[in-house]
């Protein structure tokens, strides 16, 4: 029978069929970050279990660490005990920890593809909803809560109910200045934040095939913002070229065997999807959110929309915006380029390309937080940090930073921030902070003009 990419990975990982759509699935890789990971390791120990397969578990501190230049574990005092706990448990259990300052350290969903910990056809979980990012290499990757994470650590398996299949096609060519971030924000704006609930999403179509691998990770990153735990792109030559030679990628004859297996993964031509949507990629303009949910998004050329219900009115009020006025031109105070959505080398290159010889507008605080130690080193090797610094950006250490405000780094109350992250929730970047989600290029444009601006108009 014809099967989807998702079906093939799911079926090949069923250890036991539990009936009524439930399976006990094998989990090939487990990622841990400082917040959820340290807690889960403690829980496993306290409940008297050993780690089932420490060789399949990888950890990195990212959430509750400072990203200030020269930071140590103690710079953000609130996270120090958590990080020390993670280090100690990593030593006791033998799992691999990529600590601050080491290659491999970084935001968990940036470092996993970078090191090829995640590979096509694998199952992977992490105690973090943006684990769906890893689906960009063609893996079945999803976020779990603390209890499920504990279950995986103790058994290397997880009881899951099979989700349904949804395919989202993007056909046509993206316009200049339009990125994967705009593609996914446009879809969330059109279909809503619950459209993917209960589904595994496959992104397909000519515009997706044309995306470089890092952009596919961005696309999959916001699957959870559309309600889907899992988002994926079928592996192809773009994926294989990206993975080849990375630290945990197969080598030699095993690489050849893996390639053969991966080439069989894409959805069969006549595979059944329970729901299909299609978008014209060429019609997508750069996007910017105006509210407190990623579905509250418009093209940067549009006005702030009229509220449809009380939730919209509350969002306009929180964001300090007036319906009917153009969103472009809204003054901004902060710009954040970072997060597991948009902090990879290609993102930093795109943002730097917008800068030219211009400078950050007076009164704007602008940060670049590379997604990993490796991204930071690569960017510095090609001089990107110097270009950002010359323009007036702060160049920082890798971590989640202003995406989550769990690390002492916050946007002040009432301040407006254009952010390349994935959540514009009330208080996400700090109590009272006003977040507008956008692509790295749009964030750079906002930094230069001191206002929300259409990157295509900058020249």
């Amino acid at each position: 029978m014809a099967r989807t990419l998702f079906d093939k990975i799911w079926d090949s990982h069923v250890v036991a069929d539990l009936g009524e759509g439930w399976s006990l699935l094998h989990i090939d890789r487990v990622l841990l970050h400082d917040l959820s990971g340290a807690r889960a390791l403690r829980e496993v120990a306290e409940r008297g279990h050993a780690l089932a397969r420490p060789d399949l578990v990888f950890a990195t501190p990212d959430h509750a660490v400072s990203t200030a230049p020269g930071r140590t574990a103690e710079t953000f005092a609130g996270g120090a005990a958590t990080l020390h706990g993670l280090r100690q448990r990593a030593r006791e259990t033998g799992i691999r920890l990529f600590d601050l300052g080491q290659p491999g350290n970084g935001i968990v969903h940036v470092m996993a593809p970078e090191l090829a910990i995640v590979l096509p056809g694998l199952t992977l979980v992490c105690g973090d909803s943006h684990t769906c990012t890893n689906g960009g290499v063609g893996a079945l990757a999803f976020g779990v809560g603390a209890s499920e994470l504990t279950h995986v650590l103790a058994t290397q398996t997880l009881m899951q109910r099979r989700p349904r299949n949804l395919r989202l096609r993007y056909e046509g060519r993206l316009g200049a200045g339009v990125t994967a971030k705009d593609m996914i924000l446009a879809a969330i704006g059109r279909y809503g934040t619950a459209a993917g609930t209960g589904f595994a999403v496959e992104y397909a179509g000519s515009a997706v095939r044309a995306l470089p691998l890092e952009a596919r990770l961005t696309l999959c990153n916001l699957s959870i913002e559309m309600g889907a735990k899992m988002g994926m792109v079928a592996p192809d030559d773009t994926s294989f070229e990206y993975l080849a030679g990375r630290r945990f990628a197969p080598r030699g004859a095993q690489w050849e065997a893996a390639l053969a297996a991966w080439r069989a993964l894409p959805s069969d031509p006549d595979a059944h999807f329970d729901v299909e949507h299609s978008l014209d990629a060429s019609a997508i303009a750069p996007q910017i959110t105006w509210g407190n949910s990623p579905e509250q998004v418009v093209a940067v050329t549009d006005p702030v929309p009229q509220p449809r219900h009380a939730g919209d009115r509350a969002a306009l009020d929180y964001m300090g915006l007036e319906a009917g006025r153009p969103i472009a031109g809204t003054k901004v105070d902060w710009v954040f380029i970072g997060s597991c959505t948009n902090s990879r080398l290609s993102d930093l290159r795109e943002a730097a390309a917008v800068l030219g010889a211009r400078r950050v507008a007076p009164g704007v605080t602008a940060w670049v937080v590379p997604g990993s130690e490796q991204v930071k080193r690569d960017a510095e090797a090609e001089g990107l940090h110097a270009r950002f610094q010359a323009a007036g950006f702060e160049w920082r250490e890798p971590g989640c930073s202003l995406c989550v405000a769990a690390n002492g780094e916050t946007v002040p109350s009432g301040a407006r921030c254009v952010s390349t992250s994935n959540r514009n929730f009330v208080g996400r970047q700090g109590t009272g902070a006003r977040t507008h989600l956008a692509s790295p290029a749009m964030a750079a444009a906002a930094a230069l003009t001191g206002a929300i601006a259409d990157v295509r108009s900058l020249g």
Partner: protein, 207 residues
């Protein structure tokens, strides 16, 4: 896990859509925190005013709803971050059941891991229950019976709800899933041995 069979009591309305887990518990409260004692921080950005006093506009601050064991919510409740702390927080506030038109997937799973029952009902019906509750604050009671899969409205109507059979059983009995899975240790080991032979690249690349 705390087993759940049935609960009867006040239902507090909080009908806004897309209540995310950041709203339920800000991440700062979870850095280094234990799972107990989170209740006072539940919805803190909405529940308290800048000076730390109670925000009188927040529904759960109203006297009639302070001890409610049931929450009536809007669509996509619990979307966003996978933090299980959101469930621990709601339970810390004394809640045992959330009734909403739809839930975030990961939050929905997390509820069943802890004994907080998420019940899906049509939005229009939830609005009617909220109206009945508002008409008689503190008196109108709702019953949620997991065994029978019924919600008894304040006007006495029994409304059926759907729940996954496996999750229902686990919740009624307060099952320890890790212990259950560990009984399959041999099956898991056999699967791994077979897979390692079939996909050596998936194993050797990290060993």
């Amino acid at each position: 896990m705390q087993p759940f069979r049935t609960v009867t009591g006040i239902a507090a309305p909080l009908l806004r859509a897309n209540i995310d887990t950041d709203m339920i518990i800000p991440v700062q409260r979870l850095v280094g925190a234990s799972r107990d004692g989170l209740g006072p921080y539940g919805f803190e950005r909405f529940r308290y005013l800048a000076d730390g006093s109670d925000n009188p506009e927040f529904p759960l601050n109203r006297k009639a709803f302070r001890t409610a064991p049931i929450l009536l919510a809007g669509e996509n409740f619990g979307c966003g971050s996978s933090r299980e702390g959101a469930v621990w927080t709601l339970m810390g506030m004394g809640l045992r059941c959330v009734i909403a038109p739809s839930f975030g997937d990961i939050f929905h799973n997390n509820c069943f891991q802890n004994g907080l029952l998420p019940v899906r009902l049509p939005e229009a019906l939830i609005r009617r229950i909220a109206e009945a509750v508002e008409a008689s604050p503190g008196n109108a009671r709702v019953t949620v019976d997991l065994e029978r899969q019924e919600v008894i409205t304040p006007w006495g109507e029994a409304v059926p709800f759907a729940v996954d059979a496996r999750k229902k059983q686990a919740m009624l009995e307060g099952l320890d899933e890790i212990a259950l899975t560990k009984q399959r240790a041999e099956e898991i080991a056999a699967w791994q041995a077979r897979d390692r032979a079939a996909r050596p690249w998936a194993w050797d690349s990290v060993s």
